[in-house]
């Protein structure tokens, strides 16, 4: 095909994904989808290979490579008709990444043939299960994590399959909001279908098929060239993941995670042998999550300008032992594997690859720290009438530190790696939930020292206005701090505290079951900081002075973290007017 048509179609596929995401975000009911943007869209060829995606949530898009194929195969492509939409969330039956991320898959028909598939994926703020928010790591198995939706038809020829819809939404805690989310994801698929079909009619079905094939080959070729530039070799790293804090008798041993990376020519192989077995509690990674973390890392350390599609992943092979933490088997629970263990894998890979691509790796980061999750009845009758919700589930994504880079500091208060959901406005939280946010601030000295400093974390302090609610923390790095690279110091660990009434604060482990909180209690959430890059003694004096003035570091850090002589520290403090 001529290059003009190719470029037009290739660009059109990405634009379609972008349009789908916009349609979805602007319709959704959950704040996390709507303003947080925890939603994604992608386009697949007729063989379910991902050919284009939006600039959305990497974890949703990487795992969609596996879940879209699983969805279509489970239904059987011969059964599909124009206007059908398959819903699925299940990790084991549908190749999902975790149960709260619900995928809609729609075939695109032209003249009776399937020429493509489109998918939208959104994080539902409740999918049922053990506790409100469906985000507790202390679960026995997958059944405790919420309703399992195997791939089934949710729309038949653009008409909702009401029985399925009712069954799904009634298994969640806020069915009316779920219906909005469903309409949003349907709208996204509908828009995608219309766009892709229009492209096929205009340029011809065969031209579109050829363009998709070529786009995949094109990205593969670029990726192989980029991999070739990395020095051949074997690179290894090992780390440990903390277990879920459970009741007596629950496993307490840390789980080793291990990788051996073999880079040879234009391909790269990842072997996770030596990683510990799957464990009790929702920190296991299904294979789709492990693939996604691996693919993300490869893309990040090679060439970010390569158009992203499944062709990028062809030079990458992955071995993950069956039944291990990184390729768990039914019925292991998984909810936080996707948000907490997955970034730990990326940190592990960046550590392994640091000698190969020192200029591309970063200090370790906060790793997920997805959320504090509240759920309970809203005691405020006025608000209940206004929001239409008597039960309020509130998932609040938090911001931690992102590690320092080879040439600049890390980033303060941000989501890292495969996650990218935004926070909800404090004013909106207070208007829609029985919570008062008393503080939201960066925390000094939480970014590891280094020639380049790690990014700071932030803390959010809530006052509970529910009469009674569940609170679930779900974070990572409660024990193992994010380490620095090439001599950079580690950042702070995760912290969560509940202060009941006027009692003393009680520390909550990073991954635990839910707590019950009452009106007037205070809950503090503080994700981990991040690691520095390079020897702190090489940090420029001016950079330290600026950090002091801005309160990113405290006076204590000068001698302790940056190894300054006390006279030099005193002189800096005087200059910063802090002496």
């Amino acid at each position: 095909m001529d290059i003009v048509t190719y470029e037009i179609l290739r660009n059109g596929l990405y634009a379609a994904a972008r349009e789908m995401k916009i349609a979805m975000m602007r319709t959704a009911g959950s704040p996390i989808v709507h303003s947080g943007g925890d939603a994604s869209a992608a386009v697949f060829d007729s063989e379910m290979q991902l050919v284009a995606q939006g600039n959305d949530i990497p974890t949703m898009l990487g795992s969609a490579v596996i879940s879209t194929k699983a969805s279509v195969e489970a239904i059987g492509r011969d059964r599909l008709r124009p206007g059908d939409v398959i819903i699925s969330n299940d990790v084991y039956l549908g190749g999902g990444n975790h149960q709260p991320d619900v995928q809609f898959t729609r075939p695109v028909f032209v003249d009776g043939d399937i020429i493509a598939f489109v998918m939208t994926r959104g994080h539902w703020t409740d999918i049922g299960g053990q506790a409100p928010g469906s985000y507790t790591a202390m679960t026995w198995d997958i059944f405790a994590e919420g309703v399992r939706i195997p791939p089934v038809l949710l729309y038949r020829e653009d008409r909702p399959v009401e029985d399925v819809m009712t069954l799904v939404v009634q298994n969640t805690r806020d069915p009316s909001v779920r219906l909005l989310d469903i309409q949003a994801q349907y709208a996204g698929c509908f828009v995608g279908d219309r766009r892709i079909a229009a492209m096929a009619r205009k340029h011809g079905v065969q031209a579109l098929r050829d363009a998709m094939t070529r786009a995949l080959d094109h990205s593969e070729q670029l990726m192989r060239a980029a991999i070739r530039a990395i020095p051949d070799g074997v690179y290894e790293a090992e780390d440990r993941v903390e277990p879920v804090a459970g009741p007596a008798g629950w496993p307490t041993a840390e789980i080793p995670i291990k990788v051996k990376v073999t880079k040879s020519g234009d391909s790269i192989h990842f072997d996770y042998a030596g990683t510990g077995p799957q464990t009790r509690g929702g920190i296991n990674c299904p294979f789709s999550v492990t693939c996604n973390s691996t693919w993300f890392t490869v893309k990040a350390i090679t060439d970010v300008s390569i158009p992203i599609n499944q062709g990028c992943y062809r030079p990458v092979s992955i071995d993950a032992p069956q039944g291990s933490l990184v390729n768990c088997a039914f019925p292991a629970s998984v909810v936080a594997g996707n948000t907490e263990t997955s970034p730990r894998l990326i940190d592990l890979l960046l550590r392994a690859l640091a000698p190969a691509v020192p200029e591309r790796v970063v200090g370790q980061s906060n790793c997920g720290a997805f959320s504090g999750i509240f759920g309970g009845a809203d005691p405020d009758a006025v608000r209940v009438r206004r929001t239409g919700r008597s039960f309020v589930g509130m998932i609040d994504p938090h911001a931690g530190g992102m590690g320092a880079r080879a040439d600049k500091d890390g980033v303060n208060g941000i989501r890292v790696y495969v996650g990218n959901a935004g926070s909800t406005a404090v004013e909106l939280i207070e208007q829609t939930s029985p919570l008062t946010v008393e503080e939201w601030a960066l925390v000094p000295d939480t970014g590891g020292a280094g020639e380049f400093r790690g990014g700071l974390t932030s803390r959010r302090l809530y006052r509970v206005e529910y009469e009674e609610a569940t609170f679930t923390a779900c974070g990572e790095r409660g024990i193992h701090p994010p380490l620095g690279q090439f001599g950079g110091a580690p950042g702070s660990t995760f912290a969560c505290e509940i202060r009941r009434g006027s009692g003393d604060p009680v520390r909550i482990p990073a991954k635990a079951g839910h707590e019950i909180v009452h009106r007037g209690d205070r809950v503090l959430m503080q994700p981990a900081g991040s690691g520095g890059y390079g020897d702190p003694r090489r940090r420029e004096r001016q950079a330290i002075l600026d950090d002091l003035r801005d309160g990113y570091v405290t006076p204590l850090a000068l001698e302790r973290d940056y190894g300054l002589a006390s006279t030099e520290a005193q002189s800096l403090l005087r200059e910063a007017d802090l002496a």
Partner: protein, 680 residues
């Protein structure tokens, strides 16, 4: 006040050039282009004014009006050259400005680990907290601690800042604390520009409100100085008429208003183009236009619907959020100077690198060696090397061919014109996509619009873009390169006001809404007509922002003619148009009341932008490349075409810095305002 018998001047101060137009009382138009002095844009603007007086031969005293637009405010944000500012927030929340929404939506690439996060607009050392707190109903939970505030005032006094932004939580529901804080800080800091969030953006969302207010603070002192110096400069040149400023909403406003709210100036430049487009709408009788402005580095798209500009209430500027009514404009990095390149997999890419104005495209012969979109258009015959800018600037065809041969044709293994044609097609695809997103994202069908092109390079791609989107008509205004400056002359005064409500619709009495609108309207009318338009009939349009309970973002729509009872239906109609569904059982929240005020003070007469020609004859032929090779086509000079000319394609119509290529079945007609109307 509106001295019909005087001349009007429009000045558009761009980054490289300052464009000036003068319209005499009889509608005769003079134009000038002078270089901008980036260090002090007043210099270029005043020089432009003096130049247009020379050209027109009119004394300064005969000019009764100057409309002025500038990209200055935008550049200050992009370049980080605003005034050093302080921020005062509710205790516990000074980092909102830096934490923003914690996501990376504005990051160019999600897989990039080495991205530079945008620097906070106010460094942390200048972010201060005071004890005070309102709840989500606007009720006082903690009173404002005045002693705290005194301490903060002392710290700010010694910090060296020139401006202070104040933003407290929930202040949009109750401005009492912000007002008290602003009063005290203004008294203690007489040399600082003090601005509070309830004045700038009384609306829910603390990050967005803080960011908008801080931007207003940073721009304040610099814009005030600029406005003063500009007025002084024009006065020194003998001008004693009325000076108005183009604001982001496409209307002009008085100096006092923009000095207090310089955040309204952020889209001041491109808004001029939209104002000019409104007059084109009236003239040609097409109320719905897509306006495409192709310059050296970007292609900007905006919409006019129902002969009114499409506005938005929130924008992302250089990754900083600003909430102020603004023309809805989208920009992509595909301008004439954008560089085309081949990636390692053989794909053709355009931008984001641009050759800019210096060195410029290879054909400028100023050292640019990489091929740009303009080079490709030259090789394909869409531009003429000898007549570019009326021959004042000869383009180097060989340099363009060489750049394309080395960087595109040889790596692709195809001929030079074929390579150039590929780049042109890819550029067209990118621009058409931007136009499609602008319409489709907002629930419109591009086929129902007319395409109005402007900017130096606009006409060169216009017909292909319209065809791609199945639009049926293209309009090329006279002097498309000066379109924004024309807008400064023809624009009306416009002022927008808003007030937060955040109430459930079913619990609101009609009288409450009516009362709210009445107050807003009185305020709007006062500000709109102050300083020169007293006595003019103001046109006030009521609007509402509503959302379904449970949705965070609202939809803005016109207050229904049928009144209060029809609000829900009007909201749901807008919701269906945008999203294809409604939720009749869901409660509706009224977030904001808005009033758009317009005073029809712009030039309404004919504009004789160019002398009407008398000889619709081709003056030469030119080879233009199409799929199967070059063919020679007759070339008409636009300035030769008299009113009423009708010309069938295929032909070339040439003007200052561009040409239009009509296909076999296209017809061009010159209307009585010298617009070129091309039916596809």
């Amino acid at each position: 006040m509106y001295r019909k018998a005087t001349a009007r001047v429009g000045i558009d101060v761009g980054g490289t050039f300052t464009d000036v137009v003068l319209v005499t009382a009889e509608g005769e138009v003079h134009t000038a282009k002078v270089p901008t002095t980036p260090a002090d844009r007043v210099i270029g603007a005043v020089a432009g004014f003096r130049r247009i007086l020379e050209i027109s031969g009119l004394p300064a005293s005969s000019v009764g009006f100057i409309g002025h637009g500038s990209t200055m405010a935008t550049n200050m944000v992009v370049e980080g050259t605003g005034a050093p500012s302080a921020l005062v927030t509710t205790r516990g929340f000074r980092d909102i400005l830096e934490l923003r929404r914690i996501a990376r939506h504005d990051r160019a690439d999600l897989y990039d680990l080495s991205f530079s996060n945008p620097k906070p607009l106010v460094p942390r050392r200048h972010r201060f907290e005071v004890t005070e707190r309102l709840n989500h109903r606007g009720e006082v939970m903690l009173p404002l601690d005045m002693a705290d505030l005194e301490k903060v005032a002392e710290e700010i006094a010694t910090s060296g800042v020139q401006a202070v932004a104040i933003c407290f939580l929930h202040s949009f529901l109750n401005p009492e604390h912000e007002r008290a804080a602003a009063a005290l800080l203004s008294a203690r800091l007489p040399n600082c520009f003090v601005t509070a969030s309830h004045e700038i953006n009384p609306e829910m969302g603390e990050y967005e409100r803080t960011s908008s207010t801080v931007m207003n603070a940073m721009l304040g002192p610099v814009c005030a100085r600029y406005i003063r110096n500009l007025g002084g400069g024009f006065a020194d040149a003998g001008f004693n008429g009325e000076l108005l400023f183009m604001t982001s909403n496409g209307g002009l406003a008085h100096a006092d208003l923009v000095a207090a709210r310089p955040v309204l100036l952020l889209e001041s430049g491109p808004a001029g183009g939209v104002s000019a487009a409104l007059r084109v709408c009236e003239r040609i009788g097409s109320p719905d236009l897509i306006l495409g402005d192709m310059g050296g580095t970007t292609f900007d798209v905006s919409l006019v619907r129902g002969a009114r500009p499409e506005l938005r209430t929130s924008s992302l500027l250089h990754s900083y959020t600003v909430r102020a009514p603004s023309i809805d404009i989208d920009s992509i990095g595909a301008g004439g100077g954008s560089i085309a390149w081949i990636d390692a997999g053989g794909g053709v890419r355009i931008g984001p690198q641009s050759a800019g104005a210096d060195p410029g495209p290879a054909c400028y012969g100023r050292g640019g060696a990489r091929p740009t979109v303009t080079d490709c258009n030259l090789v394909l015959g869409y531009l003429d090397p000898e007549t570019f800018l009326e021959g004042s600037f000869r383009l180097d065809l060989e340099a363009a061919r060489e750049a394309i041969r080395v960087h595109l044709a040889e790596p692709l293994g195809i001929g030079i014109p074929e390579a150039a044609g590929t780049v042109r097609a890819v550029a067209n695809a990118l621009m058409a996509q931007a136009m499609r997103l602008m319409t489709v994202e907002r629930g419109h069908d591009p086929r129902e619009f007319t395409y109005l092109c402007c900017g130096g390079a606009g006409p060169v791609h216009a017909i292909d873009l319209a065809r791609e989107l199945e639009m049926r008509r293209v309009v090329v205004p006279p002097a498309p390169g000066l379109f924004s400056a024309v807008g400064m002359v023809v624009a009306d005064r416009q002022v927008d006001r808003q007030a937060a409500l955040e109430r459930e619709l079913s619990g609101l009495a009609e009288s409450e809404i009516e009362q709210g609108f009445k107050e807003l309207e009185a305020d709007t009318r006062k500000v709109l007509l102050a300083g020169g338009a007293e006595g003019v009939d103001a046109v006030l349009q009521r609007r509402l922002d509503c959302r379904y309970a449970g949705q965070p973002d609202s939809i803005s729509f016109e207050f229904p003619d049928q009144g209060y009872a029809a609000i829900r239906a009007a909201f749901e109609g807008a919701h269906r148009r945008l999203w294809n569904f409604d939720k009749p059982d869901q409660p509706v929240i009224v977030n904001n009341l808005r009033v758009e005020g317009r005073a029809p003070t712009g030039w309404r007469g004919d504009l004789r932008l160019a002398p009407s020609g008398s000889a619709p004859e081709p003056w030469r032929e030119r080879a233009v490349f199409a799929q199967d090779g070059y063919r020679r086509l007759p070339v008409y000079r636009r300035s030769d075409l008299p009113v009423g000319t009708v010309l069938p394609g295929p032909i070339v119509i040439e003007e200052q810095s561009s040409s239009i290529l009509l296909g076999e079945n296209d017809t061009a007609r010159v209307d009585d305002a010298l617009n070129l109307l091309i039916d596809l």
